[in-house]
């Protein structure tokens, strides 16, 4: 018995130290960036004394601000639109005949398994083809948006669909029987039931759009905050620089800010979920 306990303890220590070691390795580049965001040297490994200068520089750097602004605008617009298309599509497809359902499910899988570069190339080839017919309308914010929608919409659809399938179909009919108009039933019964899926889809869409490089690089044209030059996002802006040079010093400050924001969001969501789970338990406890 004692021997078994000791074995268990050994495994526990082994497992935990392995996990923490792996985490440390994974976070090493980000951690180093964060530490060196408080010094002004151009290269990592060279400490010029502690200062917040890089953060001030960040707020004066017009190009970075344009890139960040563009990224946020694109992510929000793409996420809202793809959530609408994907969620409405999922609700509609759920009522379709089996063969329609199967076909559209298959169509949804295509952009999911397709590498981004194939998606990007297929879109640009279509634009080139359309230019041949309608004249060269060029690349713009709209072509870029189309690209991001192709990336995001399937994931919204896929996160709403299981919620619809988990839903008790009798609920909708009960609402109708109890005097709801179909539209009310949809609003008051179906949508609250699938809301977690819609929200999850929205968040996935935001993340996909924020992180995208290839589709943006292929489909972006002039517009948004970039004015007459090609729309730059964080990804394309940074990629253009790191091709030849080390990561610019002020971007270390930017990454630190992004990391802290993500951390805050994740902690917030986790705490919120825990509180909600606890409340749910309490309520259940009282009921019985």
């Amino acid at each position: 018995m004692v021997r078994q306990d000791r074995k268990k303890l050994f495994f526990r220590i082994l497992g935990e130290s392995y996990i923490w070691l792996l985490l440390l390795l994974m976070y090493l580049p980000v951690l180093v960036l964060m530490i060196y965001s408080f010094t002004t040297s151009t290269n990592l490994g060279q400490w010029n004394g502690f200062s917040f200068d890089l953060y001030f520089e960040l707020f004066n750097d017009h190009e970075v601000q344009v890139a960040v602004g563009n990224t946020v605008i694109i992510a929000v617009v793409a996420a809202v639109l793809s959530t609408l298309i994907g969620a409405i599509g999922a609700v509609g497809v759920y009522e379709c005949k089996p063969w329609v359902k199967k076909t559209l499910d298959f169509g949804t899988q295509i952009p999911v398994v397709n590498p981004e570069i194939v998606i990007a190339l297929s879109l640009i080839v279509m634009f080139v083809f359309l230019w041949g017919i309608f004249g060269n309308f060029g690349l713009s914010f709209w072509t870029l948006l189309a690209g991001h929608l192709v990336l995001c919409v399937p994931f919204v659809y896929l996160s709403v669909k299981p919620k619809l399938m988990q839903m008790d179909p009798a609920l909708y009919e009960a609402a109708l029987d109890l005097g709801c108009t179909p539209r009310q039933a949809l609003r008051k019964v179906v949508i609250p039931e699938i809301l977690p899926g819609i929200l999850a889809g929205f968040l996935i869409a935001i993340t996909l759009s924020l992180d995208d490089f290839i589709v943006t690089a292929f489909t972006a044209g002039p517009g948004l905050l970039s004015g007459d030059s090609t729309i730059s996002t964080i990804s394309t802006y940074v990629e253009g620089i790191i091709k030849k040079h080390p990561l610019p010093a002020e971007l270390r400050a930017l990454s630190t800010l992004i990391f802290l924001l993500v951390l805050l969001l994740v902690v917030g969501v986790t705490v919120f979920n825990n509180v909600k789970a606890k409340q749910g338990k309490k309520r259940k406890g009282r009921q019985y």
């Binding site: 497992g15 409405i88 599509g89 509609g92 295509i110 952009p111 981004e116 570069i117 620089i241 790191i242």
Partner: protein, 290 residues
């Protein structure tokens, strides 16, 4: 005159029938979206892969059927080597990612050792920091450590790939491990299997869907990646993604399309090969971040 109950009933039935139809119609914008931005572009890839554009002296373009891109691909030693290098890079990254994350996923999913989700979230959090910035950071760190792309392009690229794809492997493995039948494992041990046998004959076997799904999420994206190989090898390693990107910048639509077609073919092949475990694998993938 007020309506009788029966009339009311039939009217509401009619209404709900019309609405049922209408609800079905909600699928139309979605279907149109898929056709316009997914199906047609893919068909055009096939079209461009087997055609060539010639520009006459007066500037008019004519598109005609041609196997130039296909012949060009299969006769070019350059492109074959890109294909081979991409496959090697894909396999190496996949194997290293699996080896690194498999034990971690096992421990994370074991309720006796780990009771909080926070550790799992820590593992996937890097995904939410812009990957181009992360790639730049990795490159600078490796340079600092003396492992620059200039002198060690393959190693540097491999490390960058592993860094980027670790979160993608841990997630499907973790969801599969959560579903491991622990009593089966204990039974195997009780019945006399040594730890090695328990692992190879039971745990490994039970986690195959997770392994397949994790590999699917790494292999193809590595082959088709552009930024990571371009940055970390300082342009010395050309993967499939880099080549397609090159064709794009040079407006070589037919050549690029044919390479994209090859990628599509490889995807279809890998999906066919993993079809049997795919249902479970899809379920493992579906256990997502939120």
């Amino acid at each position: 005159m007020s309506l009788t109950e029966k009339e009311k009933q039939s009217r509401s039935n009619q209404l709900s029938e019309i609405f049922a139809l209408k609800r079905k119609y909600l699928a139309i914008p979605y279907a149109l979206f898929l056709i316009l931005f997914v199906v047609i572009p893919l068909l055009l890839i096939v079209f461009y892969a087997f055609s060539k554009t010639t520009i006459a002296a007066d500037g008019t373009k004519t598109i005609s059927f041609s196997l130039d891109a296909a012949v060009g691909f299969f006769t070019s030693a350059d492109k074959w080597s890109v294909l081979l290098i991409s496959v090697f890079m894909g396999i190496q990254t996949t194997v290293i990612c699996l080896l690194l994350t498999y034990p971690a996923a096992y421990f994370l999913a074991d309720k006796r050792f780990n009771t909080n989700q926070v550790l799992v979230i820590l593992f996937i959090m890097p995904m939410w920091i812009n990957f181009v910035i992360r790639t730049g950071a990795t490159r600078d760190l490796l340079n600092w450590m003396g492992l620059s792309g200039g002198t060690h392009p393959w190693e540097a690229t491999l490390i960058g790939m592993v860094y980027n794809f670790l979160p993608f492997t841990i997630l499907p493995l973790y969801t599969t491990m959560l579903k491991l039948d622990r009593s089966q494992i204990e039974a195997a041990a009780d019945l006399g299997a040594n730890p090695y046998q328990v692992f190879t004959k039971n745990i490994l076997y039970q986690s195959i869907p997770g392994i397949v799904s994790a590999s699917e999420m790494v292999f193809m994206p590595v082959m088709s990646s552009y930024v990571i190989s371009d940055t970390l090898s300082e342009g010395k390693i050309t993967l499939f993604g880099n080549y397609i990107y090159l064709d794009f910048t040079n407006s070589l639509w037919s050549e690029g399309s044919f390479m994209a077609l090859i990628m599509l073919f490889i995807i279809a092949l890998s999906m066919l090969l993993t079809r049997n475990v795919d249902k479970d694998a899809a379920a493992a993938r579906g256990g997502n971040l939120w």
